[in-house]
Amino acid sequence: MGAYLARRLWQMVPTLAGVIALVFVLFNWVGGDPALILAGKVPDPAQIENIRRQLGIDQPWWVQLWIFVQQVFTFDFGRSWSTNQLVSDVILSRLGPTLTIMVPMLLLETLLAVTLALLVAWVRGSLTDRVVMVVTTVAMSISFLVYIIVFQWLFGYRLAWFPVQGWSEDLWTNLVKFAPLPVLLGVFVSLAPSLRLYRSFFLDEIGHDYVRTARAKGLSERRVMLRHVLRNALIPILTYVGIGLPSLFVGSFLLEMFFSIPGLGREVIDSVNRSDFPVIKAITVYLAVLTMLVNLLVDVLYHYADPRVKLR
């Protein structure tokens, strides 16, 4: 296991180098000039030059790249160009609200989707199965934005079951007052595709010989589904959930924007609008690292979900 982990960690280095190079090229050659934004409504050339000098974007590209590499390895991205806040403070202060929404959303969505998919797979071909498939297809074809607008209007304003928007400093208040509507919305929207996907995983497993053998041995259908089918379908489910894990840390910018949640998703959009490169660069690199680590974690979890999987 130790050797496997070391090898995988070592393999991350070239990937990270690629990420750094890509982010650097994108921001330095494709992105707009932040000095123009920061110079105000009457930007004169001297002011723009002064800003470029202070931000270090007048330096040769190799100097800028070296500074970026140093920033990545020291976890010090300096200060936000627009608010002058430390980038590390920006990220840390935004992470909590994002996780407060995204973690319950992921847990609920996974739990519900796996349960419902198993039930639907159990009665495959029935009217229930067909109705669920039609409903999920319709649900998937509607834009997330439409759900947000309708849910916020209906449950927040019309029925007043939840506040229309808001956030507090207190985790408990957020969990019981401000998070429920965005979390339910997120679950509702992501449930349909997950349910369909997990159903197909279960149907794949149901078609295998070992299931027929288990049934031939006289095992109950419940035991077949829960002990055999569910367990074997866990690997693709884990893969799917694992792929989505890094998004936990970025959040949904639409949810955060519409419900005034001070999370990372909203921060990314604000930073893009203001060409606040230090913040965007830091979040991009940190997300890339997180994705690599989560992939590694998922690979390790395979071993525990199915002992036949060997980590070499």
Binding site: G31, G32, D33, P34, L36, I37, L38, A39, G40, K41, V42, P43, D44, P45, A46, Q47, N50, I51, Q54, R79, S82, T83, N84, Q85, V90, S93, I149, Q152, W153, G156, Y157, A160, P163, V164, Q165, G166, W167, E169, M257, F258, F259, S260, P262, R266, E267, I269, D270, N273, R274, S275
Partner: protein, 602 residues
């Protein structure tokens, strides 16, 4: 310790104190509302966004302000004792700082009360030109005050701005007197001192918080920052060090019912009345609108255009909202939206008759009526000139048909000057037979995209091929400043309410920074220079009118509309009068907590 005999009394006292505390808390006057976008921070010299500036206006006190009632707006003293008279033909202004004005308490003052002095005002002005601050409003004093630009240039060389070196342009005469000397006369110079960017700041506060001044605003204004969750929640509380003042009704219009209501609301009250103000920056318009409609917020400024027909179709407040006591104010702010033609572009630019004819045809062909009706849901008025209503120099009688939507006239003009279809492909070509393709530059965003679509449709109607190019805002800025466009969408909001602030956008020497469509017309420039040397007068207004006439004749812009914004407030919000320049004036607002409680109970 309390002995047992006194225990019941002590408990009773404690209970009463608790009750009193709760009552006091319950009766706190709290106002809640939202900003349309996020703030960046509260260092007055380092920010330029509208919402940070709006908060700074409540925390800091510029030397001057605009009267709450006067329309058109009028200068009034704030941290200064009086509005200075121009000296030496508009080249010198002497401010007398009000005595007994104190900054709110802060650890930077080491427990001492800190009085506002002329040095603080001088320090703030110098901060605008300190290169380290990257002050986006540095241009307010750039090329204006004697010696300040030299100080700036030396700081660029040495890396250190010398705040202590006296310069002729900024003279601290005594503790309460500041004299400013300009390089050349400017009768509009005083307007700059109504802006939070020039508000005095205490040097020890700035030096104490160094890189973190955005989060530590310490001013002399009616409120101070109590809590701040960046881009989420801004809480202001009444500044206990503030001297307080009463409503000045000198410029109120007795015939205006809104003015009468405000006077009745605030008569005899020491301002500010609010104990606490909670501001929620919201990028999305629906939650901002719904938060007002369900009473979470007490007022909504600039009702989103998307929802305007749900509250005021045809400009009339819905009876159901009237029944709830909701009040509506509709205000045309001093700003313009327009489409800029690149005057240096080989096809669309230039001053020869056929080029002028092309631009005038494009103006006439652009369906501005649909733009107002569809894009802005009727919340706009056709713009006739570069000077919007509400500013000094605006002429309500300046009317013509050159900015109308009139495709037939456009076609006639194009035909007359040879912009016809030479090769029979169905599209008009240049007079020399080369293909004519108009490049339209706009920023990304739903409204900008819709406006681009309308341009394409309008041009297709007269046989002109237009290609819209949507780019990030920073890229749009870059291309406009570099002159890489033919037509670009643009807007300008007044920095100060004088026509000069708008007409400067077409002044030749201001190209390309301010005048980014590079309009250079000798006659226009001479008029501008003459007007700049004159105080407000009928003669100056005549020059302004003449400049507007030239701008219409040569068509460097397609003026689109003066937007009309709707503002709503609940009946328990007292004293609310939307000022055309200020985002809010919280000092003049009050909340009737009993009325609010009764409404919420229903």
């Amino acid at each position: 310790m309390i002995d047992s005999a006194r225990l019941p009394g002590a408990l009773l006292l404690a209970a009463l104190a608790l009750l009193a505390g709760n009552t006091a808390h319950a009766e706190q006057k709290v106002l809640r509302f939202a900003f349309r976008s996020v703030e960046t921070g509260f260092d007055p010299q380092r920010v330029d966004d509208l919402y940070s500036s709006a908060v700074n206006n409540e925390i800091f006190e510029p030397l001057l302000e605009f009267d709450y009632f006067a329309r058109p707006v009028r200068l009034a003293p704030l941290a200064a004792e009086s509005v200075p008279e121009p000296e030496e033909g508009g080249s010198v202004y002497t401010f007398r700082i009000r005595r007994g004005v104190y900054f709110s308490d802060d650890p930077a003052f080491r427990g001492q009360r800190r009085e506002l002095t002329a040095r603080d005002a001088a320090y703030a002005i110098k901060r605008l030109r300190d290169p380290r601050n990257r002050a986006p409003y540095g241009w307010l004093v750039q090329d204006a005050l004697v010696g300040l630009d030299e100080l700036h240039d030396e700081a660029l060389e040495s890396g250190r701005f010398d705040y202590d070196r006296p310069i002729a342009g900024i003279e601290v005469v005594d503790r309460y007197t500041l004299r400013l000397r300009l390089k050349q006369p400017d009768y509009n110079f005083l307007y700059r001192f109504t802006m939070p960017q020039t508000a005095p700041v205490a040097r020890e506060v700035i030096e104490t918080y160094a890189e973190d001044t955005m989060a530590h605003p310490v001013g002399t204004g009616p409120f101070r920052l109590a809590e701040w969750t960046r881009r989420q929640k801004i809480v202001l509380e009444r500044n206990p060090s503030y001297r307080g003042r009463t409503l000045d009704t000198t410029w109120a219009d007795p015939g205006d019912p809104e003015h009468r209501r405000v006077i009745a609301d605030l008569r005899g009250k020491l301002l500010p009345q609010l104990d606490r103000v909670e501001i929620y920056p919201m990028d999305a318009s629906q939650p901002r609108f719904l938060a007002f409609m369900n009473g979470e917020h007490d007022l909504i400024q600039e009702v989103p255009v998307t929802f305007i027909n749900q509250v005021a179709p045809g400009g009339r407040l819905l009876p159901s909202l009237e029944a709830r006591g909701i009040r509506m104010q509709r205000v045309v702010p001093p700003e313009i939206t327009y489409y800029s033609f690149n005057m240096e572009h080989p096809v669309i630019g230039g001053y020869t008759p056929e080029k002028v004819a092309l631009r005038r045809a494009l103006v006439l062909a652009h369906d501005v009526d649909s733009e107002i009706a569809v894009l802005y849901k009727g919340q706009g008025q056709l713009a006739y000139g570069p000077v919007p209503p509400g500013v000094v120099g605006y002429d309500p009688d300046f009317r013509h048909h050159e900015q109308d939507y009139d495709p037939a006239r456009a076609v006639a003009l194009l035909d007359l000057y040879g912009w016809v279809d030479h090769d029979g492909d169905g599209w008009r070509d240049r007079p020399d037979g080369q293909p004519l393709v108009i490049d339209y530059l706009h920023s990304t965003g739903a409204t900008a995209r819709e406006a681009a679509g309308l341009w394409e449709k309008s041009m297709r109607r007269i046989g002109i091929r237009l290609v819209a190019r949507g780019v990030q805002f920073s890229d749009q800025l870059r291309d406009r400043k570099a002159g890489k466009y033919m037509i670009a969408a643009a807007a300008w909001a007044a920095d100060w309410p004088d026509a000069q602030n708008f007409l400067a956008l077409l002044y030749g020497p201001n190209a390309p920074e301010l005048n980014d469509n590079r309009f250079r017309l000798e006659a226009y420039d001479r008029l501008y220079e003459r007007a700049a040397m004159m105080p407000d007068s009928p003669e100056r207004n005549r020059l302004y009118r003449e400049m507007s006439r030239l701008a219409i004749a040569y068509a460097p812009w397609r003026l689109s509309e003066y937007l009309v914004w709707t503002h709503l407030s609940y009946p328990w919000v007292l004293g609310y009068l939307k000022h055309p320049i200020y985002h809010t004036r919280l000092e003049y607002l009050d909340v009737d907590v009993a009325t609010r409680a009764a409404a919420q109970a229903r």
